[in-house]
Amino acid sequence: MTSTLTDDDLIRLLSETAESFPAPEWSPDRPGDEERVRTPLHERPAVRWLVAASLVIALVSAVGIGVDGSRSSSDDSQIAAGKAAGSSVFEQQSGRVPVPAGATSSGSTGTSADTLTSASAGSASGASGSSGSTSGGGAALSLGPAAAAPAAAPAPQAATSGVAAPAPDQGRIVKSGQMVLEVAKGDVSATLTGVQRVATGQGGLVFASSTQESGPSPTGTITIRVPVATFEATVVAVRELKGVQVVSASTKAADVTAQYADLQTQIRTLKATRERYLVILGQANTVGEVLSVQQRIDGVSGQVDQLEGRLKVLGAQSAMSTLAVTVTEKGAPAAKTAVEKGGLSKAWDDAKDNFTGGVEAIVRASGGVLIVGLSLIALWFVGSLGYRVVRRRMV
């Protein structure tokens, strides 16, 4: 005998099964319904995703802080070593104080117009080092009790400008500065031209320049780059321009000598390693051996290229210093200078920098795999969220 399942059988069996479940009553005012429907906070997917995202951001920022910390601690140690050796990192701010005329002694904060020429001449005599020369009777800006770098023979590239550049094994200082000047009505362009002449006179060049001559408050900005040895003299020379009143001036210097030397050492070591690999390559017999050694050579070559690039950048930064000058007319609203942020604003900027630094470090380490993976995850998340929203709306 066989049996088969008819529709009536199905109806009967499902009915008997379903009716074994006692059905509760329903009312729209039933207390506790909202609570029944509400999912516990920790079980909600959105909350879980938020917590996960926060953890990821914190982790990436921590990586960024770690990367930044390792870089700055090596900088700090170099600067501390430099300070101990007598080099100085200086900053100065000044108010609306006209430069005193006739100041000639070393250690003074300014020089007269007469000494501008002699300072330039002194520089042109070939002395190097950021302490400035004392020949010709003029005094360049003194950096402090001890010279920043010992005087040395001028480097070859300084021959045309008459200014010595740091020799390869000498101290390397990255210097930069900002100045805001006030001039009489109609003198903005002339002052900018004066700054340009100072730059070329010091063996430097104009990096960028812009003016806004129409409107109630004409302003102009000019960024010049001069050999690092003549930075202080350039600052003095700009102060000494005719009809100029200094609203604010700030300068900064960082000693990157150890960093530079470290890069050179790393490059030498890597090149020696590459040479050894090349010798081994000549001894390789099988295709597998050749490929393995070639892979290592490629890796080392890549590192050498990277480090040489960094060395070049550091060299350029320490060879030529940067001075940004803003010129405004008297009576016009004060030009906005780059103000150092503090408090919460700085903390926010630091947090952003740390996070992006961390992301860069991770991406660099993992290559494109991480970017592709994260993009796919983000797409999947957006897609599933959208699907749920659409499904709910279809109710």
Binding site: S15, E16, S20
Partner: protein
Amino acid sequence: MEDSELEAWLQEDYARAYRTACLVLRDRDEAQDAVQEAFLRVWRFRSSIPSGEGRRPWLYRVVVNSCLSRARAQISRTGKNTGDEALSRLPYLGAGPDVRAEQSQLADDVLAALADLPEHLRVPLVLRFWAGLSEKEIAIAIERRPGTVKSRLHDARNRLALDPRMTAWVAPLEATQ
């Protein structure tokens, strides 16, 4: 539709919807939560309830969606289907202990057989043979074409017809001589 009329309609259909959810999810607590959520949603969005014959399949669409969301959430949380551990928790009502035992066994077998059906076959089967929806109404409820519903019902019936747990409760055909 007036609120009082709607409330009466929902109360009338609540038990059937709840039992539908029990058959789909095979878990009383999950079914209760799913149907509560569905009915709350229906109550909140009562202005969008269609009128006439479309009302019932629309209600079951909400209930089915709520059940499926719960089932998928359960799987993603625990990796298990709802009802896998719930079969033993069914309360059984009956006249006497023998009847209750028999009912219990029947329910166990039917639920076990339903558990072996994939979701896309189980849902139309329950809506057809328990909730009493027509194929056209089932198509509205599960958002598929009527042809798809017919095909799925046919598949589900064939599978259950081969399941000894179901056929054990069916009277055998007399052999023809």
